[in-house]
């Protein structure tokens, strides 16, 4: 076991990890930040997505030791400072972008990464960016709609409620 130190959601944290400890395991079991989910553990589903130094990353496919000294953001760090939902989170609620909610942490983190890179994406660009995020419930339609709405675009023409 070695001691790791990194910044998670703006706070400096330390914890113990083995070489093989995955970042998602470190977040969930050592830091007790269980908002980051494990859907597949095989790099497919994106439920475990977090940001490492501003980049979207599948935390089930990165060793915790690789995040030593890094700036990590998880779903727990996405709400506004006063605890209210961020624009992205609110859009998911408003447009029924989740059902069971299992994929949602990853969807929100992916959305944040997309909108940073491309603040006004087209529907096709949104769908392409979601390549690595799987949802078992929604059929994606309302997720795409939520993301378009979060980017400030008019979504009244995108399919039915």
């Amino acid at each position: 076991m070695t001691e790791l130190s990194m910044t998670v959601n703006g706070k400096t944290v330390t914890g113990k990890a083995e070489g093989r400890t995955l970042l998602v395991t470190f977040l969930r079991e050592e830091l007790k930040l269980t908002g980051t989910h494990v859907g597949c553990d095989t790099s497919q589903c994106g439920a475990c997505q977090v940001h490492v130094n501003g980049q979207p990353v599948k935390s089930c496919t990165m060793f915790a030791a690789e995040a030593e000294g890094a700036d990590v953001r998880t779903i727990e760090g996405m709400a506004n400072a006063d605890g209210s939902l961020s624009v992205i989170q609110q859009a998911f609620q408003d447009h029924h972008g989740l059902q069971c909610g299992f994929c949602t942490p990853g969807m929100v983190m992916t959305t944040a990464a997309l909108l940073k890179e491309n603040p006004k994406p087209t529907e096709a660009e949104v769908r392409e960016y979601l390549e690595g995020n799987i949802c078992r419930c929604t059929g994606y339609h309302n997720i795409v709609k939520s993301i378009m709405a979060a980017s400030g675009q008019d979504v009244s023409a995108i399919a039915a409620e």
Partner: protein, 259 residues
């Protein structure tokens, strides 16, 4: 996953030293290695991380375009002044995979369906290691096999920039690897065509197409050619015959898209 010692060297020389340990392996972005370790197909005694060395990260130059071995697909997609190569990098995996996966890792692994080997071979890239320089024609030896020796590290890859180039990938939708991918590069000296995803030997050049396209750079020049299915991969995603057909179709598309 079996446990291992995690080593994070600060320089290529230190990394090379650490890789001398028995059963030590280099860790690039881990996007292939970590899943194989979870499946216990790999159980290194130590992993030597190549991600912490500034000397191995970055994109520079305009011709050749030189890419550090530990540069991520995302960075190549955003920064490489070689449009066909940047487009190829931007289509690997998904955005999160592109934030971690590296060009050195992809080339060293030489997955028979990976995208980067096609770009390197078609462009006539030079792979620079901590020991020597290897031209792409000598680098790719077979499926998951390269000319790299034990513990040898890809420090950078140098890509000559063709006059025209394009990569067309027929996506295997579950893995996002190429079911068949073709990279076409037109240089003053001739055309090079590299095919990935098709052969049991991994990436290879299609010399009949190179000849035809060097004489006449148009999709029509391919009309009389056919690809034999001998030695091509056959699996639940596509038979050898299907892949053989796709090689020609994707080559034609690449030539058209290259303009």
């Amino acid at each position: 996953m079996h446990n291992f010692d995690f080593v994070k060297p600060g320089s290529v020389a230190e990394a090379a030293e650490a890789l001398k340990a028995e059963d030590a392996m280099a860790l690039g972005g881990g996007q292939t290695l970590i899943p194989t370790m979870k499946a216990r197909l790999n159980a290194p005694s130590a992993l030597v991380s190549l991600s912490g060395m500034a000397e191995m990260v970055g994109v520079s130059g305009s011709d050749p375009v030189v890419i550090g071995g530990a540069t991520t697909h995302g960075q190549v997609a955003a920064e490489a002044g070689y449009p066909a190569l940047a487009a190829l990098a931007g289509q690997i995996g998904d955005p999160a995979v592109r934030s971690r996966g590296t060009i050195g890792g992809s080339l060293a692994n030489n997955d028979p369906a990976a995208c980067y080997p096609a770009a390197a071979l078609a462009s006539g890239a030079v792979i620079k290691t901590d020991r020597r320089e290897i031209v792409a024609d000598d680098f790719f030896v077979g499926m998951f096999e390269t000319a790299l020796e034990e513990g040898e590290i890809i420090t950078s890859v140098s890509f000559p920039v063709p006059a025209k180039a394009n990569y067309q990938k027929f996506l295997q939708p579950a893995s996002r690897f190429a079911l068949v991918g073709v990279f076409v590069a037109q240089f003053d000296s001739g055309v090079r065509v590299a095919v990935t995803g098709a052969s049991e030997e991994g990436v290879h050049r299609w010399s009949a197409a190179e000849e035809a396209l060097s004489a006449n750079f148009s999709a029509e020049a391919l009309e009389g050619l056919s690809v034999a299915s001998d030695g091509l991969m056959s699996d639940l995603h596509g038979s050898a015959e299907y892949r053989a057909h796709l090689v020609k179709v994707m080559t034609g598309r690449a030539v058209r898209a290259a303009g």
